[in-house]
Symmetry: C2
Subunit: 144 residues, 2 copies
DNA sequence: TAAATAAAGGACAAAATTATCTTTTATTTT
DNA sequence: AAAATAAAAGATAATTTTGTCCTTTATTTA
């Protein structure tokens, strides 16, 4: 469904959010450890997320990654997916045709579009903070 | 969403169904032409579909691919996706964790599972024949 | 200001997916 | 039976995605 980059990106961002809610920064090593991801690959992903103002990075000692309270309250899953997966899910044809267009639909268009709309809604309505908090409260061992 | 192999597989199968409804076989070259796919890659995919009894292949002159009337009436999109994409959509964790398990869910599990169930239903309720016929009637330029 | 720390950036490598090419096997027609 | 046809099978190649390594840049602390 999502690329590896996107999967790691979501998991990493939730981890960052989790620390930011406590007012703490978290470094690359800790993130990779926490979410069990390859460290240098994760670094690349975090760079992209920082460039797109989804997280904030700081260099030097005490440096690391964090999210502003504004980011915490506004960043949605869809922002991460769009950044890392080039919103292909949003615009591409389910059968791989060059364009997806309701005026010139493929045989699967209407079925596919229905699912895509629901996925879209889910991604746009799920905030990182929400995921972090569900982890935090952790009634049911919500993993990362 | 789907792999290229799966996209070509669906498009090719619909094309075969379209001919089979007219009682005709169709060869690899014609299929690749019709759906605009790389010929040898398409051949590999058709081999897999034939092995899994989704289509029937015959060698020699007048050979080619076809679907039995039984296949035409029973094969669903889900059969093709399972064959070519190893039902990852069906069983894998949306965040890429090793397992997806409601008893030990990831932070996205319940949101993701909801979408997945709907996708599953769509794939299991959409037959190849249905797609072929919508193409055939073609009120709205339904592409392949 | 120097040393230490941590991310950024760029080059490189491995793996997986997609795509191609060649030879073999099965079937039909002559 | 021989020739022609078309898919199967297997080897090979290109591309994309994933993953690693090394050097540079920015920041903090001593
Ligand atoms: S045209 Fe294929 S999904 Fe829209
Ligand atoms: S555990 Fe992640 S989607 Fe089910």
């Amino acid at each position: 469904m999502f690329s590896k980059a996107c999967e790691y990106g979501i998991r990493a961002t939730v981890q960052i959010a989790l620390q930011s809610e406590k007012g703490l920064r978290i470094g690359l090593k800790e993130i990779s450890n926490a979410i069990d991801s390859p460290e240098p690959f994760t670094a690349k992903i975090l760079q992209q997320l920082a460039k797109n103002d989804i997280i904030i990075s700081s260099k030097g000692p005490t440096g690391g990654y964090e999210m502003s309270s504004n980011q915490l309250s506004t960043i949605m899953l869809s922002d991460i997916v769009k950044t890392l997966d080039c919103d292909l899910i949003y615009t591409g044809c389910g059968l791989g045709l060059a364009t997806c267009d309701a005026k010139n639909p493929c045989v699967l268009h209407f079925q596919f579009d229905d699912i895509r709309e629901q996925l879209k809604k889910m991604l746009e309505n799920t905030s990182i903070q929400q995921l972090a908090r569900s982890r935090e409260s952790g009634d049911t061992l919500l993993r990362l």
